[in-house]
Amino acid sequence: MTNTAAPARSLAAVEGRPWAPRSPIAWLLAPAPAARLALLRILVGAYATAWAAIRLPAHLGHADQVVDRWHAVGVLAPLGSPPADVAIVLLAAAAPVLGLLFVAGWRYGTVGPLFAVAMLVLATLDSAWGQVFHTENLVVLHLLILAAGPAADVLAVGRPRAQAHATGADDPVYHEDLDDPGEPTGPDGRYGWPVRLAAVAVVLAYVLAGIAKLRIGGLDWLDGDTLRHLVANDNLRKALLGDSYSPIGTHMVGQAWLFPPLAVVTVVVELGAVLALRGGRWRTAWVAAAWLFHVGVLALMAIVFPYQLAGVAFAPFFRLERLADRYAGRATGRPRARRSCWGPVSRACGAG
């Protein structure tokens, strides 16, 4: 990872777009900085750790569930009855601890898969009592993807701090005090595919939801009646079962004219997820629209998608290494990496 006088493509150019004139596989495997993947590990891991800690009482409560209600899905489907109580308690208690180690990047080769599997089983356990939840799909998929990649090569316990070439900021001044200049953490395809695959998982989730509405509900779904009835029914069900419901939603149901445009916007946002892979303004616009969509779901139906509302679900669409650049700049008092390193090729930046 040295600077060369020869013209080289910027990392941004190397990464490109999925529909650039090369194969999607080449796009998926294009190089990315190690810090991007590491920061995704930290963000997703921190969210999942908080989730496992906050949900600990509910997870422990699975041990007290009536066995007759067991209706397993996913990886638990082969089980004819719930896991032993002691296994549930151990799993629920271990998950937040594993999560902290995951965030720290400690012994990642072991902890990464362990935490991902623990979260997979815990979240599947939540959905094993007759109702499949859809709020944790993406965080579990992201953890599984992260566990399969080298997400703790930097920004991890026992590893060098985010290095200039790891973040893509290959400024020579940063090389003066590298802990381990030989550490192979420059931009590489092995750091790129997990992040892009995580982004693809997000896109597929939304697109599938949009396709399902049109396939099952048909074009009638767009006339707004279905959405209006869904909002009314969901709030009614919550009220009848003693839960809090959305007063905004119940008020809005009376405004029938609002629902046709809301239905169209819903499907457009879901099917439009593919635009996020274009990057730039398209990505930012779609992420903003998707986030507002979830704010709308919360307002109308009191349904919380915390992973999306926290913004972590959309992290794979962004160049997270810039966060490390800022951190490095503040910690050392040195100027942070120049943005130009991601734009047109400059001699100081190189191609990674």
């Binding site: 209600r69 996913g74 007759g130 599938l208 099952i216 509900g217 839960d243």
Partner: protein
């Protein structure tokens, strides 16, 4: 590895394309929620508390099914109804054991016009009582 994960992520899409009734799963979902029109008039099973004066009070998901998840509480009631009168009565007794009040616990099915309910008409079109038991401790 990446190819295997891509295939794994794509499986629900293939299932969704293949069948409208593709079963849901976790974490690979076909996202069937919010696809069907439930209609304006709907029926929901639940468990309520009926005071000696006949007033109906709602019970929490925790009291109904020992869960903080409202949908799972509803599913629990539905499963008991589907299992027959003895399971329904057992649910009633189970809930009554968690209620500390001089009242009657009733497993019911309520029919509502959801749009009218949203507008403030909270009384059901119909309420069928399928099991009842005393909650007095």
């Amino acid at each position: 590895m990446s190819a295997a994960l891509v295939v794994g992520v794509a499986i629900p899409g293939i299932r969704t394309m293949a069948s409208d009734d593709a079963p849901d799963g976790f974490p690979l979902s076909t996202y069937p929620m919010f696809t069907h029109d439930p209609g304006r008039v709907v029926e929901h099973p639940t468990v309520v508390l009926v005071s000696p004066r006949g007033d109906v009070d709602r019970l929490s998901p925790e009291t109904i099914a020992g869960t903080d998840q409202v949908i799972q509480a509803g599913v629990s009631v539905r499963q008991a109804l589907d299992a027959g009168p003895s399971a329904t009565q057992a649910l009633c007794a189970d809930v009554a054991g968690r209620v500390d009040a001089p009242a009657t616990v009733a497993v019911v099915v309520e029919r509502h016009d959801s749009v009218a309910w949203s507008a403030g008409d909270r009384e059901p079109i119909e309420r069928r009582i399928l099991a009842a038991c005393e909650a007095r401790r």
